[in-house]
């Protein structure tokens, strides 16, 4: 019997639990859980150190774009069973996870391929923005190279 597939996107202001995301995709039929954790890096730009990131989102559209992303993933890798993404909003300190993504599949090949594509698509299409905040108290909005209308878009 095929269990109902789950696609979950949670946007929240709290610290993310990797275990919670992993548990959300667990299934007796799945031998593989693929995981991606995006962590806020302590980067240095022009002598200014990043102290954290400020995230905001167009929340209803993030949900609808996430559903489209999952449809694309499932079309290409039908064996993908569950997908769960938790994404922080608001202030995220350096060293903390901004996003945790988990995909379960019967075997690892599909899950790992699907995860690569899911991260790419999330960065290209999810209406979420982050602002880098520096120790100089300045801030700048970042742009994903995956986003087609970014100035640094890689073709």
């Amino acid at each position: 019997m095929v269990e109902p597939r789950r696609d979950v996107l949670k946007l929240c202001h709290d610290w993310l639990s990797v275990q919670e995301v992993v548990d959300a995709v667990s299934s007796a039929s799945c031998g593989a859980t693929s995981l991606f954790i995006g962590t806020t890096r302590e980067d240095v730009l022009n002598g200014r150190k990043v102290i954290g990131l400020e995230y905001e989102a167009y929340e209803p559209m993030a949900q609808s774009e996430f559903r489209k992303l999952c449809d694309v993933i499932r079309e290409r890798w039908p064996s993908v069973t569950h997908v769960c993404v938790h994404h922080r909003l608001g202030w995220v300190k350096v060293g903390e996870a901004s996003v945790v993504m988990a995909i379960s599949s019967p075997h690892r090949h599909d899950g790992q391929q699907a995860m690569q594509q899911a991260v790419e698509q999330l960065k290209a299409r999810l209406p979420v923005w982050k602002k880098e905040v520096y120790d100089s108290q300045e801030a700048s909005w970042k742009e994903n190279a995956e986003c087609p209308w970014a100035s640094n878009h890689k073709q």
Partner: protein, 87 residues
């Protein structure tokens, strides 16, 4: 025909316009996304900083700035979408 729409500003566009959202009354419809963007530029000239690095989202569908006509209805949401940086 005209429509009353809610415009949402995100990220840099919210900083440039000074707003998170506003109501626009009597927006012509159908309207090209270029004309809709120009209308917003007239109201908030500082948005020009985003020229060529912005799209709109109408009823939660991305629309590139160009000749493409969009049909607007009363109560529709139009979002100004600077380059994305999720993940």
């Amino acid at each position: 025909m005209t429509a009353q729409v809610t415009v949402l500003y995100f990220a840099k566009s919210a900083e440039l316009s000074g707003l998170k959202e506003e109501e626009l009354v009597a927006v012509p419809t159908p309207i090209s996304s270029q004309d809709l963007w120009s209308l917003l530029l007239q109201r908030h000239p500082r948005l020009c900083v985003l020229q060529h690095q912005v799209v709109l989202a109408v009823r939660q569908q991305y629309v590139a700035i160009g000749d493409e006509l969009v049909a607007l209805g009363d109560g529709d949401e139009v979002a100004v979408v600077p380059p994305l940086s999720g993940g």
